[in-house]
Symmetry: C2
């Protein structure tokens, strides 16, 4: 199904991270969620923005990755987020992912210092690549200016591809700006995998030669998103896209991560899934009821979710 | 000199962090810089924004702190920055600082997720305080929306002070917005120490009842800034403020951290001080010469710098 075994395509999800009531990460429920997503043909961009990855320490992420690998998750389906503020953290986490043979890493630029130059960002990625020093390293750049407030210009991306053509192999564009994705697609970078950052752009991305999408909503609506990925060139595609948009808009009328976790909690029958780490706040009781009622009215389901639920 | 031994006042500097050519932190030169700053009556807000603190891992910061303490730096003069994106990192670094009896910590809010609520930020700080669980903990909040892009509202600050009056004891206001500092000062929070985030607001801050300033430029101009702190209610104060502003504007006509490090490198006779970690970039040769020429024209000096220089 994947035309190139080395580079990703299709649908991936920044897997939501379950916390216990004491706010410690829960590896068992994360493993169950990952298994379910794989069963829905969705790859695992664990430790993304919507995984609350940046609310966890490097050690916590390494321990979760260990558990997933021990639990039998196929590293060829994993694209963990490894970009941190500190060079040394990014290197450490990326090396850990490489040790397990993860097929790619999704890499934020360092995001604390603002208004940094392309030279500085180039140097950041280059330094990570030189230090990790692995022929197997595959980096998918992570462009999410609405949150990171540090973006990746087209010129910077091109410079990275030219310097490291076998390593810098793709990007997730979470700018929310279709014209930016389109501009990247028009550059014609050889076999560079361009992913929409949300399924709302999936059809446009596929029609313009993109690779798929990496979307938080794939945590709750994976099968339908994958269906559009498979059928984007059929007559049914527009309708499928509209249906995806409706579910997305419904979920996103609430704060995104708490809403996704509330939905997973409800449909897996495991209320603890709703726990979020600060600075996020769980939905209020009223919000929760409203959201779940709206999904009920749509006959929304998540078949198979909770089947791998740990006891 | 310090009217309250428990709470800071005066001038502190986010101490610039020296890196070796291989980008590893150099504890020996940091110790020398800290000793020099103390000799100039400037306290040590190590691991601030201008320390490139967020380009270092928690482990690197812990090791530097160990070295400073072993090197004889007085923890009662230290206010290390300990606020990270991840709750667990913030707790770990804060606990480490408390182990040595640091008189305060300067604490950023978690800064990756944007548009978070006051409830979420309150919960972040509260969770750190509850976990560290030390009567000796003194938190100085760090409000720097131009860089962190996550700020602290007056209502949030007040809520934290009310909940933890002996722990949340001050703030550094790096908003660059005098009206915000003024509003805080007008709230009349009991013995709450309000520091300007730059010496350009020092005189205004002192006149309105503030505690001093925590400013990056104190790395290069400590004695003059401290002089204004001591003489703010004299006739000479306006002139002293204007002189500070001139040096500051001169340095800040270049990217701030590389400029400060270039100046320290030149005046200490140690060129390696100019090294910055990505995503920052050192000044170009031309910029360096321009900057140093301008300082020369002002007869700018840094007396005693380099006296503690390691061999």
């Amino acid at each position: 199904m994947n035309p190139s075994p080395e580079r990703f395509s299709g649908v991936l999800s920044p897997v939501v991270t379950p916390f216990n009531v004491d706010l410690s990460p829960d590896p068992r429920r994360l493993l169950a969620q990952c298994k379910w997503l794989l069963s829905q043909n969705v790859g695992l961009a664990v430790f993304g923005t919507n995984s609350e990855a940046n609310s966890m320490s490097v050690e916590e992420k390494m321990a979760l990755l260990d558990y997933l690998i021990e639990g039998g998750i196929d590293p060829s389906r994993m694209m963990p987020g490894t970009g941190c503020c500190a060079l040394t953290d990014t290197v450490r986490l990326t090396e850990h992912a490489m040790r397990f043979g993860c097929a790619g890493t999704l890499m934020l630029p360092p995001f604390y210092y603002k208004d940094v130059s392309d030279d500085g960002l180039f140097r950041s990625y280059a330094e990570v690549i030189e230090r990790v020093a692995s022929n197997e390293l595959r980096i998918y750049l992570y462009h999410i200016p609405p949150i990171a407030k540090v973006g990746l210009s087209l010129d910077l991306i091109e410079r990275l591809i030219r310097a490291y053509p076998e390593t810098v192999v793709g990007i997730k564009d979470s700018s929310g700006d279709w014209s930016n994705t389109e501009s990247m697609l028009q550059r014609g970078w050889d076999d560079f995998r361009i992913f929409a950052g949300a399924e709302s752009f999936l059809l446009q991305t596929m029609r313009a030669g993109g690779a798929g999408c990496i979307s938080a909503t794939a945590n709750i609506n994976p099968a339908a998103i994958h269906k559009l990925y498979m059928e984007w060139d059929t007559d049914d595609a527009e309708r499928l896209q509209q249906e995806l948009n409706q579910v997305r808009e419904l979920a996103l009328s609430y704060p995104m991560i708490p809403a996704l976790k509330t939905i997973v909690a409800s449909f897996s029958g495991d209320p603890e899934w709703a726990v979020v780490r600060p600075p996020l706040v769980a939905l209020s009781g009223t919000e929760r009821h409203e959201l779940l009622d709206k999904l009920k009215q749509r006959d929304f389901t998540m078949p198979g979710l909770g089947a791998n639920r740990p006891d």
